[in-house]
């Protein structure tokens, strides 16, 4: 397992107004797995991702990435761990507008003090896979949203992270750009041992995953694993979404109608 989380809880607010965002959540992510996290708004998807990705601390529980208990990491150690082991993609791309595409992509490597030759090799690797070779000297403002998200993905992948965390990566993209990005992610996931943990509310996006955890009211509600075609998996996701909302085949069968 590349990631193990046990009994995670997250409580926000003060004594008088407590909000339980997560309650006793445990999960595992295998090496090279493509895990999706889905659920209705306010279910706790992003909170879970933030805790798993070291951006937030759980109120209780533990998260292990590889053989490292990340709750023990602080300051420079945590920054170094993030820099070397983890990759992030956000809905808002979070590119540095003042830097060119090339500078944005190699920035994490410069923090790692990677030798120039290796920087060039890594840059060439990710830009070829994500089809960004022609855009290296452009600024983010000159790119389409799809291209920007690919640059963000390239920046996350250039350090060869063990796990890539993606929070609604297709949220700002049109359907064509979203499909393109997801195909790239799927390709990278299959060609390397990198695990991907992706939060999404979109069934089509989730259908690219190998396994999906459904969260409701801060707890794991259900889990589905892809076995056959993506179309079949998509149908099951749709049904589970409807089930969480009170409808769907499962509820219909249980109620006998």
């Amino acid at each position: 397992m590349i990631l193990t989380a046990t009994h995670l809880s997250k409580i926000y607010g003060t004594t008088l107004n407590l909000t339980k965002a997560l309650q006793n959540v445990s999960l595992n992510v295998g090496t090279g797995e493509f895990l999706g996290i889905m659920g209705p708004s306010g279910a706790g998807k992003s909170t879970l991702l933030n805790i798993l990705s070291t951006l937030d601390q759980p109120t209780s529980g533990q998260v292990w990435i590889g053989d490292q208990d990340i709750s023990q990491l602080r300051g420079q150690q945590l920054a170094s761990f993030r820099r070397k082991e983890l990759g992030f993609i956000f809905q808002d791309f979070n590119l540095l507008e003042a830097l060119t595409v090339e500078e944005n992509i190699i920035l994490p490597l410069t923090f790692n003090k990677t030798p120039a030759q290796q920087v060039n090799a890594e840059l060439s690797r990710v830009t070829t896979v994500l089809n960004l070779t022609q855009l290296l000297q452009r600024y983010p403002a000159e790119l389409s949203v799809g291209q920007r998200q690919r640059v963000a993905a390239a920046r996350a992948l250039v350090v060869k992270p063990k796990i890539l965390f993606a929070d609604e990566p297709t949220g700002s993209l049109d359907s064509y750009s979203a499909t393109e990005l997801l195909q790239y992610l799927q390709l990278l996931n299959q060609s390397s041992q990198m695990a991907i943990v992706m939060v999404t509310h979109d069934a089509f996006t989730a259908s690219f995953c190998k396994r999906i955890l459904f969260i409701k009211d801060g707890q794991i509600f259900s889990e589905i694993v892809r076995k056959n075609s993506r179309q079949e998996f998509f149908d099951r996701i749709m049904d589970m979404q409807a089930t969480i909302g009170g409808g769907g085949k499962t509820n219909a069968l249980q109620s006998g109608s």
Binding site: D56, N94, A98, P108, F111
Partner: protein, 458 residues
């Protein structure tokens, strides 16, 4: 890498840095000129005891430096808020906080160095002009040339590291206070609730009226304080304080309204003209200004408040020091205006009237200001705390007289005039007694603040 990142960010945020550079350069120019004036020994010999003393110039320098620090801190905060996500992203990629702060510090240093350079050049260029204006309004004839002094440069240059340390600490506290999640959270535009356009236009007119009213009120401060004192049946001092308070409130509310109502309304009106609205252009166009000002309306209001307060207090200070003292009991100045060549004659008059005068050094001007204490005029039977430090030139007096609807002075080269304002201090005294002791001065009453002017001719 840090330097490259800072330079690239500096270019990227050139508009915001440009505004900071402009204001910084202006402040540096003023600071440098005040500092030069204080260091100019010849100039201080002429104006040091009468118009602006060294300590006053030093105080002005400190005030300008303080305002620049306040403005830069606030502007830096605004810029940082714009860039929380960028800071969060750098931190997420593993850049140490200190390095992030250093990159920002280099960026601010660049704009401060440019502002310092421009400000110093402007200071040197405009020093002569500024001093000439000062001497002109003071009716002092003094040949002034270009002047430079290393000692004057020092406080201005010292300001940069002080400012850097303040901004660095401020940014450090800000970043340490915020979690990585908060930094990464996208900034949503703070769009105020939009009222119907006609209501906004009406409100804008009211705000502009308030600003105009405030400005006009400050110009006619004496009339306002008189009016308030009469209407509310309070003393003139209380009337003056109340007037300043009310006008300050009007001015500050007006400035707030300017950002929150008038400018958004103007932008909304301009938006109707599509030709002015180039949304895809990269230059700073209406659409960008619109989005930027809506997004930062609170910060801009804060800056306006700060500047508004600063200007209000500076203006009030100038007014109070120049004219206000005339209306405040216990601090009434007594001046005698005369041409320089009338000094002997004036001395004789003062001697005859048993007036002990403190004669100021002779100016190279038409006006010879002579101040004397009221105690010496009316004798020891009467109490007075009148401050004799105020110098009233003919021009100042005439300006004051016009506001008051009094007779103005037109002194010819061979004429002199005595101005004797009468205050409530004299109310207890018998007019006849005073008149007997001081025959050339008639006594009026404080409420009307009548000024008796006696012209002395050859």
């Amino acid at each position: 890498m840090l330097y490259n990142l800072a330079v690239k960010n500096f270019k990227r945020y050139r508009v915001i840095h440009g505004i900071q550079i402009s204001i910084g350069a202006l402040a540096v120019m003023i600071m440098f000129d005040f500092s030069l004036m204080g260091a100019d020994a010849k100039l201080m010999q002429v104006i040091g005891n009468t118009i602006l003393s060294r300590s006053f110039l030093f105080l002005f320098t400190l005030v300008v430096a303080g305002l620049l620090i306040l403005f830069s801190t606030y502007w830096n905060r605004l810029l940082m808020r714009q860039r929380y996500q960028e800071i969060g992203q750098l931190a997420l990629m593993g850049m140490p906080t200190l390095k992030i702060l250093l990159a920002f510090a280099i960026e601010f240093l660049l704009s401060q160095i440019i502002a310092l350079g421009i400000g110093l050049c402007l200071g040197l260029l405009f020093y002569k002009l500024l001093v000439m204006i000062l001497l002109k309004v003071s009716y002092v004839n003094f040949a002034i040339g270009f002047y430079f002094n290393w000692r004057a440069l020092l406080p201005v240059i010292l300001l940069i590291p002080i400012l850097q340390v303040i901004l660095f600490l401020n940014n450090l506290i800000t970043i340490k206070r915020l979690s990585l999640l908060r930094l990464l959270k996208p900034k949503r535009p703070n769009v105020p609730e939009i009222l119907p356009l006609w209501q906004l236009q009406l409100l804008s007119l009211l705000v502009l009226g308030l600003l105009l009213g405030g400005a006009q009120g400050f110009v006619n401060l004496f009339s306002v304080d008189d009016f308030l004192a009469q209407q509310l049946n309070i003393s003139l001092v209380a009337g003056l304080c109340l007037a300043i308070l009310l006008l300050s409130i009007a001015w500050i509310l007006g400035l707030m309204g300017l950002w929150r109502i008038v400018i958004p309304t103007v932008i909304l009106c301009l938006r109707r003209f599509k030709k002015l609205y180039f949304i895809q252009q990269r230059i700073f166009t209406i659409s960008e200004i619109s989005r930027w000002s809506f997004r930062n309306v609170k910060s801009l209001t804060g800056i306006t408040l700060l500047l508004g307060l600063a200007f209000t207090f500076l203006g009030m200070g100038a007014l109070v020091s120049r004219y206000g003292l005339n209306t405040i009991d216990n601090y009434t100045p007594y001046s005698l205006l005369a041409t320089a060549n009338k000094q002997v004659e004036i001395d004789q008059i003062l001697k005859r009237d048993k007036v002990v005068a403190q004669v100021q050094p002779i100016f190279q001007t038409k006006i010879l200001p002579v101040n004397y204490n009221l105690d010496t005029v009316v004798g020891h039977n009467y109490r007075s705390n009148a401050d004799p430090s105020m110098v009233m030139t003919q021009a100042t007096y005439n300006r004051f007289a016009r506001y008051r609807g009094l007779k103005t002075l037109k002194l010819k080269p061979n004429q002199a005039g005595i101005i004797m304002p009468v205050t409530s201090i004299l109310k207890a005294a018998s007019k006849k007694d005073i008149a007997a002791q001081k025959p050339v001065v008639q006594v009026g009453t404080y409420a009307q603040l009548k000024l008796q002017i006696t012209s002395i001719t050859n």
